[in-house]
Symmetry: C2
Subunit: 391 residues, 2 copies
């Protein structure tokens, strides 16, 4: 009785609003998923997400594939409900649309921010090569830390996400380092949240498929200290309209990060034990950083890289592309890995970049997957790239 009073009283005041009374989403044994919402006054409820067949989004620049939607129906208990088809193993995102108003599922506290949008997530398991790597399994877990470093090149303290593998704290050993870069609109949280980087590393290392390594996830927005809400800007709404985006500042100052990591962690401090990869804008960064500093990285990954020609890329880092590539490839990186989806809007730009490499006879590995410019592909690429490192 006393415990009940305490529990109730504490909850009434602590968690200001009570817990929902229904389960949503419910992953059924047959891997269909049921979504539910209590919205008695609503006249239409839809669910939209990447588990549904895509719909075309029209823009002034052409049509892109966007997430589809499906209608919920009100059941005899007044609860809106929809059950999906059987879903393939994957981490999925979704939102509800209630009378035209987009909103989170109030029964699902698991949400991930991507730029200025927050969506609910759920995971369907059953694929040992990919989706099962995104789960937290009962294996030894690495540490995920939010760490600040000083960047003289950018003139400020900035935040990193650093993964150290299980056992790092007490092993006394030195480790190789993998620098992992986000895309436009992302930040130092992107790979550890939507990217499931810590889970993928924990699982691949536990299975003996990847070397224990440190993973450093930077913030590639050169004008910012840290992710939205995590810097002295306070709770300022995120935006992709940032100064110093892809102007060469981030790439030029990248040695600040490497210097900090090598002086703070027990690292193997040579090219053979450093990798760099990134998605979209981070692939662009990885391409330019790895050729600007050709003695720094033996492993380079371009995931759906934003490597089309850009007239506004006039910084020193971007000068003499072909000369710098010649230097980089003369030093024979152990792995230069290019991956892209066959529906990616950057597919043609990557084809042209590969032609440039082919014409020069530079050695790289190419991986083409289905689908477009989406996190599903980047988790797949990370799961495939990590086992190839430092072997």
């Amino acid at each position: 009785m006393a415990a009940a009073v305490m529990s109730l009283g504490a909850m009434a005041q602590q968690a200001l609003w009570g817990a929902p009374q229904i389960v949503s989403p419910e992953v059924n044994p047959d891997k269909t998923v049921t979504f539910r919402l209590v919205a008695p006054n609503a006249s239409e409820v839809k669910v939209t997400g990447d588990f549904l067949p895509t719909e075309k989004i029209k823009t002034p620049f052409g049509e892109f594939d966007g997430p589809g939607s499906a209608s919920l129906t009100k059941n005899d208990k007044g609860v809106w409900e929809f059950t999906s088809d059987v879903l393939a193993p994957e981490l999925y995102s979704y939102s509800f649309i209630v009378d035209g108003f987009k909103t989170a599922d109030p029964s699902n506290v698991f949400q991930i921010r991507d730029t200025a949008s927050i969506t609910n997530v759920f995971l369907i398991d059953g694929d040992p090569n990919y989706a099962d790597l995104y789960k937290i399994n009962d294996v030894p877990h690495g540490t995920v830390a939010k760490v600040w470093y000083n960047s003289p090149g950018l003139g400020m303290d900035r935040r990193l996400t650093v993964y150290t593998p299980a056992g790092y704290e007490t092993s006394g050993k030195d480790y190789p380092v993998f620098y992992l870069l986000h895309g436009m609109g992302g930040d130092e949280n992107a790979w550890s949240e939507l990217g499931r980087a810590a889970q993928i590393l924990d699982n691949l290392i536990a299975q003996g498929k990847a070397e224990p390594m440190i993973v450093v996830m930077t913030n590639g927005n050169a004008a910012l200290q840290a992710a939205p809400g995590e810097s002295s800007l306070g709770f300022k709404a995120p935006t992709t309209q940032l100064p110093k985006t892809m102007d060469g500042s981030f790439e030029a100052a990248f040695p600040d990060v490497v210097k900090f990591v090598d002086s703070t962690y027990r690292t193997k401090k040579d090219k053979a034990h450093r990798a760099i990869a990134g998605l979209s804008m981070g692939g662009f960064h990885s391409m330019h950083i790895s050729k600007q500093y050709p003695d720094m990285f033996d492993y380079v990954g371009l995931f759906s890289a934003a490597i089309m020609p850009r007239e506004d890329a006039t910084a020193d880092v971007y000068n003499d592309l072909e000369g710098k590539l010649a230097t980089q490839f003369a030093k024979a990186p152990k792995l230069y890995w290019i991956a892209i989806g066959d529906k990616d809007f950057l597919y043609q730009a990557n084809t042209e970049y590969r032609k440039l490499l082919d014409d020069k006879g530079y050695k790289y590995t190419y991986r083409e997957s289905p689908d477009g410019h989406i996190w599903k592909n980047w988790r797949i690429y990370l799961s495939e790239f990590v086992p190839m490192l430092f072997k």
Copy 2:
């Protein structure tokens, strides 16, 4: 043009749903706050939050103060809007209620989970003693890490949040350790999110008001490995109906945490350099742990502690309360600090506990604040407690 296409295309596909077109909440120069929502089909929109005068919540066990609500009105552009009174400096939480359906503010990506509820947050600054400590200021920042340890006492790997102060990585020094415990429904994320512990520590240390220290935030739910979504349970909805809650398991196994911390970090390994404090259930835990292990902590903080008598507390840890307190106080802890709000539903239980201490002549410090069992008080208590440690 190319950059614009890339940006648009990337956004259309990466952040699956577009950014909202309005600003909400907007903290105005006079410290009123304007909330806005685009919901053209709604017939009623309210905002509910702790910045509004409280309303009584009726329960079978009595009335408690809950967050108030206010109505938004549709302006001439079809946007729902409400402007608050001038607000005192504080971190506030709120939600919208759209036609009776509780939802997040889609224009505000800053949200914090408390048990099974997610609410939006915003911060009003201007109080150097409290709210300004909750901000990320341009001062040296400590590292916040999610770290796993093995607990033989609980038979599993479990997760901690560990704050190490700025400079820890390279100073070579040993540091005192403050163990900071959450309440019922919370987890190892609670103090670093709603509690703003890292910000409070960063700021107090930078101002010279607190000693540099390590802060270890445990998970006090003895049946769980980690916070919801962070353990091998996967994306399982959070609940307060957990086995092994306040059954003595967590308290008895607490030396597992101290042993891990002392073997993993550079710590000062004696009573004079260890503190323990907690809110609500964590205050109950701190009281029992500190007397069960009377040579472990010289600083004890009970924040709105859940210390009423409980017939179901039959574990060895709970036996011989008075005898163990006699032993603890005979060893003269340097600080035994009890704090509670004058409207807290645990006020009477704390009064009775203090009477027990008074009757025995045990020395403690008492701090009474306004308000009830709310995070506002716990941030205040943390801001006051930390400067008293390790001096």
